[in-house]
Amino acid sequence: MKVLTLNFLTCAVKACKSSSDSFPLHPKDAELVHDDVEVNAQLLTNLLHRLDWKALRTTATELGFPDLPETAPTQEDLENDEKTLKDLHNLLIETQMMEGKLVCGHCGHEYAVREGIANFLLPTHLV
């Protein structure tokens, strides 16, 4: 599962919908792999304003990446600076979480991740 997807996933439990702690989910015991993917600058530019930068910084720190800059790069940064684009591409799309758990910060529910597939099936009492 890509780090990009982690930036969009929230806890599926009904009671967590209203809480701000349910996003982002916190990776635990994560095993990461690096997958070479061709850079798609247009896609990254499209996604840029939709990323939650604060959440991405938290996730990156929790996954053991060096600290990201305080503020998100702007569209011009991506267009002019190839290194920023490469770094963002490397983090968001090429880094994949294969094994581990995703923990909700509000209810503490753990979603298992196996072979890159997160299990979001809920027991009926939590639906």
Binding site: F8, T10, Q42, N46
Partner: protein, 279 residues
């Protein structure tokens, strides 16, 4: 033809053998591919986008999304969710590009608001009309799904869901649930009345877009061979304009009574006519 929806739950029906059969059948592959391309045509994405694939199965439709050439606005990034572990297992062995998620669409869509540009679903949402346990109901599952989907799409986003309803009741139930969640909904029928009839539920989020109306009539605008049947207008203009005690008013009342099961005299040329003034 028997419907698997009637016998088993989706995750039980698509076990290892069924999942493999489904994925390797060239007939199913062709049908899925043509439906995915039709859905993409309806979505009209002109730049690389993030797409949610609901009921992605073994990633047959996802492969097409990743393979859209650059000049047609691709390649798109997609995230797929499916309830059947066997199907996802096949997807893993086929090495698809999108991210996969084991999730039940009837339990909602676990993404934060405004995450996706578009959503696509091929032959999946009719499964929502079946609830396998006593504590869930089809209406509840439908509403959770559509509410979740509505939230996870960005404003101006679109969703196209191809589905096989069992009958008109299911069809109306699904579209009513989508409208209730706030979508602008419309159904596109391909090859109506034939064996190959395909239904596409076209959902739009937010108001009018740059290319015309905000709902399905705007989506199909400029497409060849599409007849627009708008049932809404009849309902809107009918009210308030009929004069009381006029012939139209009497006929409307008679229809109302007939619907209630009352005995109503047949309508003739004398209906609603004034009597001659008696001397």
């Amino acid at each position: 033809m028997s419907r698997p929806e009637d016998t088993l739950a989706a995750d039980v029906h698509y076990n290892d053998t069924e999942a493999r059969k489904y994925t390797t059948s060239s007939r199913i592959q062709n049908i899925q591919a043509s439906m995915t391309r039709r859905a993409l045509e309806l979505l009209k994405l002109d730049s690389p986008s993030l797409i949610l694939d609901i009921g992605c199965g073994s990633g047959l439709s996802g492969e097409i999304l990743s393979a859209v050439p650059e000049e047609e606005g691709g390649p798109h990034m997609w995230v797929g969710m499916d309830i059947s572990p066997s199907m996802l297992d096949v997807a893993l062995s086929r090495d698809v590009e999108g991210d996969l998620l084991l999730a039940d669409m009837g339990q909602g869509v676990p993404f934060r608001a405004g995450a996706f540009d578009a959503a696509i679903s091929i032959s999946a949402i009719q499964w929502l009309c079946n609830a396998e346990t006593a504590d869930t109901s089809p209406t509840g599952r439908l509403s959770r799904f559509f509410n979740g989907l509505y939230a996870s799409l960005r404003r101006g986003g679109k969703a196209v869901c191809q589905f096989y309803p069992k009958n008109d009741t299911q069809r109306n139930m699904i579209s009513a649930a989508a409208v209730k969640a706030g979508f602008g909904a419309g159904i596109l029928e391909d090859d109506p009345g034939t064996k190959n009839q395909k239904l596409y539920l076209v959902l739009t989020v937010g108001g009018a877009t740059s290319n015309g109306g905000g709902d399905i009539t705007g989506v199909v605008q400029g497409m060849e061979g599409v007849d627009v049947l708008d049932n809404r207008k009849a309902g809107k203009t009918g009210k308030g304009e009929i004069k009381k005690h006029s012939k139209a008013w009497i006929i409307k009342k008679k229809e109302q009574m007939e619907r209630k099961g009352k005995i109503v005299k047949a309508t003739s040329k004398y209906t609603g006519r004034k009597r001659r003034i008696a001397f």
